[in-house]
């Protein structure tokens, strides 16, 4: 009888097989909703686009490409932006100490991906800000026009600041829920800090929105271009309906509360991103106050000031008085409608509107140009019947009235006439735009069209 070890070779093989299978099961892991605890928002390293060159191109970027990922892209002689570095800045030129200071301030104000927050500022900072605004320094005057309006209602204190945050639903619980939904649904396109540079972003054209300039295209707020922030309903509408003609899908299958949380989180990312963008840009253009504030003895006041201004702009956009409220011209009689459509076409082609200048051949021969985010975009083809911001007459009115932030679509608000809506030129254009994509309708209204 040969002696055998306690566990025979066969049983050992069997055991390791079973063990291996069990390990595979364990590797599947648990479902994890929120970001890892130790993850931080990275400080931006991609180029800061302050102004875009006025270039027209016939082709978009190739699949798998974003126009400006790093300064190295600009060094490439084949990049259309090569040589146009005047208003494109390199954030990696900021010294390590200053970057650390910015990072620290941003974490203190905006938290981490797993625990996002929007901290109200202390009274001390706000008093200093109020003093500065009230002294009407020329360099601030243009930028903070609306802010002055808001703060003259009373003084800006920690309590009012917190109230603004509540109005914008930027409390920690909502943001935490928004952050985990964002991670599951939005991160792959819009990126971790909302930079529109997630892994899918390179392959999707038009590229996903970069929230970090605080600019959103499809807004219904009537603040002037430059300070305009979207209203909450605009963000929710885009979430709910998606954007037809782009890769932004509709999220109407999320519950209403989930959509609200995501909207809050987007506002949070936009605030954080815009503060980071502005402070880095102003540092790189050698603004002395910013350099001092971020220096070894500085207290970061300049960063906090910008944060306060942007928050007030966001809050302002939500006020009822800042919603674009057109007069309602509908219903039209048949004659009125024919007249309206025809005069809409005249406006489009003529010197008043001159829309044909930017939408050549009604948009069918549009060229690509750089938008404020440094990505290539083409003016809309208005004969396609696809309207990105929404196809309701109201949405078209909002686009023409207020223009489109960041994309270069001008605002035509001076042609509106709220008191006599049937004479409102913008409604004429809207009616024309609704007829334009349909050949039989164009015939019916007797429009000249090649």
């Amino acid at each position: 009888m040969t002696s055998r070890s306690f566990v025979s070779p066969c049983a050992r093989k069997l055991g390791s097989l079973v063990g291996g299978v069990c390990c595979l099961v364990a590797l599947a892991g648990c479902v994890q909703d929120s970001y890892p605890e130790d993850l931080r928002y990275p400080l931006r390293t991609d180029p800061i686009v302050a102004a875009v060159p006025d270039k027209m191109l016939s082709l978009p970027d190739r699949p798998g490409q974003l126009p400006i990922m790093s300064m190295a892209d600009l060094a490439d002689p084949f990049n259309p932006l090569h040589g146009d570095v005047k208003s494109i800045y390199d954030p990696t030129r900021i010294g390590e100490k200053e970057r650390a200071k910015i990072r620290g301030l941003l974490v203190r104000l905006f938290g981490t991906p797993a625990h996002p927050k929007v901290e109200p500022l202390e009274d001390e900072t706000l008093t200093e800000l109020m003093d500065e605004l009230n002294s009407d320094l020329p360099v601030l005057a243009k930028k903070v026009n609306d802010v002055l309006q808001a703060t003259r209602q009373g003084s800006l204190t920690n309590a009012t600041f917190s109230r603004y945050l509540e109005e914008l639903k930027l409390d920690n619980t909502t943001l935490a829920e928004g952050s985990s939904i964002f991670r599951a649904q939005c991160l792959h396109c819009h990126g971790l800090p909302g930079d529109g540079r997630g892994p899918s972003a390179h392959w999707v054209n038009p590229h996903p929105r970069d929230y970090r300039q605080g600019k959103f295209k499809f807004t219904s707020s009537s603040q002037s271009l430059g300070e305009r922030k979207p209203r909450r309903e605009d963000l929710l509408r885009i979430l709910h309906n998606g954007i037809d003609g782009t890769s932004m899908p509709a999220f109407n299958l999320l519950t209403a509360n989930q959509q609200e949380s995501v909207a809050s989180y987007v506002i949070h990312l936009s605030l954080r991103g815009q503060v980071e963008y502005e402070i880095m840009k102003d540092y790189l253009v050698e603004d002395p106050k910013v350099k001092e504030s971020l220096g070894p003895d500085g207290n970061g006041y300049e960063l906090k000031k910008r944060y306060a201004i942007f928050l007030i702009q966001w809050r302002d956009a939500q006020l009822d008085k800042n919603l674009i409220q057109p007069g309602n011209p509908y219903p039209y009689t048949d004659d009125e409608l024919t007249k309206s459509v025809k005069s809409g076409q005249e406006f489009f082609l003529g010197t008043d509107g001159g829309c044909i200048a930017c939408h050549p051949n009604y948009g069918r021969q549009g060229t690509f140009s750089y938008d404020d985010w440094g990505t290539l975009a083409r003016r809309a083809n208005l004969t396609a019947g696809i309207f990105r911001g929404g196809r309701r007459p109201l949405d078209l009115y909002w686009r023409v009235y207020g223009g489109i932030n960041g994309a270069g679509m001008a605002e035509f608000k001076k042609y509106s006439n709220k008191d006599k809506p049937k004479e409102d030129k913008i409604w004429d254009v809207v009616n024309f735009l609704q007829v334009l994509p349909y050949p039989k309708m164009r015939e019916k209204y007797g429009l000249k069209f090649d």
Partner: protein
């Protein structure tokens, strides 16, 4: 020791069979609820094939496990060299071949009912039509307006008005002309968009007991229009418009005064709607189409009556033609 492998196989196969046997009793493990008119035929095919393959599964596994245990290697026993059994091999090739051939013929009528164009409902006044465009990563649906749906009936005002205008020219009678025109309008809905069409996303609305014709398109890559509760799956091919039809036999859309909710069953005796988890009917994408393929979902709402459906469609139309911003309370009510 080798026999232990045989025992392991036996245990695994028994477990697999056991899981299958208990599956119908466990929520979510068996076929989803079928509400399609042609669904029963498909399910019957499934059960038939399951029965046949199940029988052969048990047979072959039993033989395998038996021979592994009985004839597993043992020290001191010599293996015998078996040349093969020609007759056995012929039998176990021909029998499955015949079974498969039988299945191939048996399933033709089920396939034809669902997929053959000649068996699909014609686009006319009795068929509900919609155009579904798949795109990364959602389902864009185009419905006709209520007015346009009405114009597909020969007796409608639109048809009769157009017939009266053209009667002299064409020389045909009013009735004939009205029928021709209304039928022409119905047929061209799927081909072209119209200015008053209602555009929605990820929501398929139909009403009970009515044939629906879907024109399926895709804007970018391959997708697949999959409604599990209707046993319906059709790949969407770029460049093609593919007709798809179905008829839902049960309703699941309950109107609570503000919104239509799915996941409800209508109890005719009590005349009330009862919450039922089996009445949440989904639309999913069944052809990998990119990062968000698994998140490309939609919902199927089957209204109890055509009037209920038209009521929903009218509200959707009104929203589409909105020219003034909604009041804040109105916005809150729709959430």
């Amino acid at each position: 020791m080798q026999k232990l492998w045989g025992v392991l196989f036996g245990v695994m196969m028994t477990a697999a069979f056991g899981l299958f046997a208990v599956a119908p009793l466990i929520r979510g493990w068996w076929l989803p609820k079928n509400v399609a008119s042609f669904g029963q035929g498909i399910d019957n095919l499934f059960y038939l094939i399951l029965g046949i393959t199940g029988f052969f599964f048990v047979l072959t596994e039993a033989i395998l496990v038996y021979t592994m245990i009985r004839y597993g290697a043992e020290p001191g026993r010599k293996s015998s060299y078996v040349h093969g059994n020609h007759q056995l091999e012929v039998v176990w090739t021909i029998v499955p071949g015949v079974i498969l051939f039988f299945l191939a013929l048996w399933q033709i009528s089920v396939w034809a009912d669902v997929k053959f164009y000649t068996r699909m409902p014609r686009p006319d006044e009795n068929t509900q039509q919609m155009e579904v465009t798949a795109r990364q990563w959602e389902w864009r649906v185009r419905y006709p307006s209520t007015k346009r749906m009405k114009s597909w009936e020969p007796a409608s005002d639109e048809a009769r008005k157009a017939a009266t205008e053209n009667a002299k020219e064409s020389g045909k009678s009013l009735d004939v002309l009205a029928k021709e025109l209304s039928s022409k309008w119905a047929q061209e809905f799927g081909q072209n968009p119209h200015p008053d069409d209602v555009y929605l996303v990820n929501d398929i609305h139909v009403w009970k007991g009515n044939k629906v014709l879907v024109s399926l398109k895709t804007r970018d890559v391959l997708h697949s229009f999959f409604l599990p509760n209707l046993r319906l799956k059709q790949d969407a091919l770029p460049g093609k418009t593919i007709p798809v039809w179905f008829e839902a036999l049960e309703a699941n859309a309950y109107f609570d005064g503000a919104n239509w909710l799915d996941g409800y069953r209508y109890n005719a005796q009590g005349d009330q709607w009862v919450k039922d988890r089996n009445h949440i009917w989904e639309l999913a994408c069944a052809e990998y189409c990119g990062t968000r393929h698994s998140l490309m979902r939609g919902k199927l709402f089957v209204h109890e009556t055509k009037d209920d459906f038209l009521k929903w469609l009218e509200l959707a139309e009104k929203e589409q033609h909105r020219s003034t911003p909604p009041k804040p309370e109105a916005v809150a009510a729709t959430k």
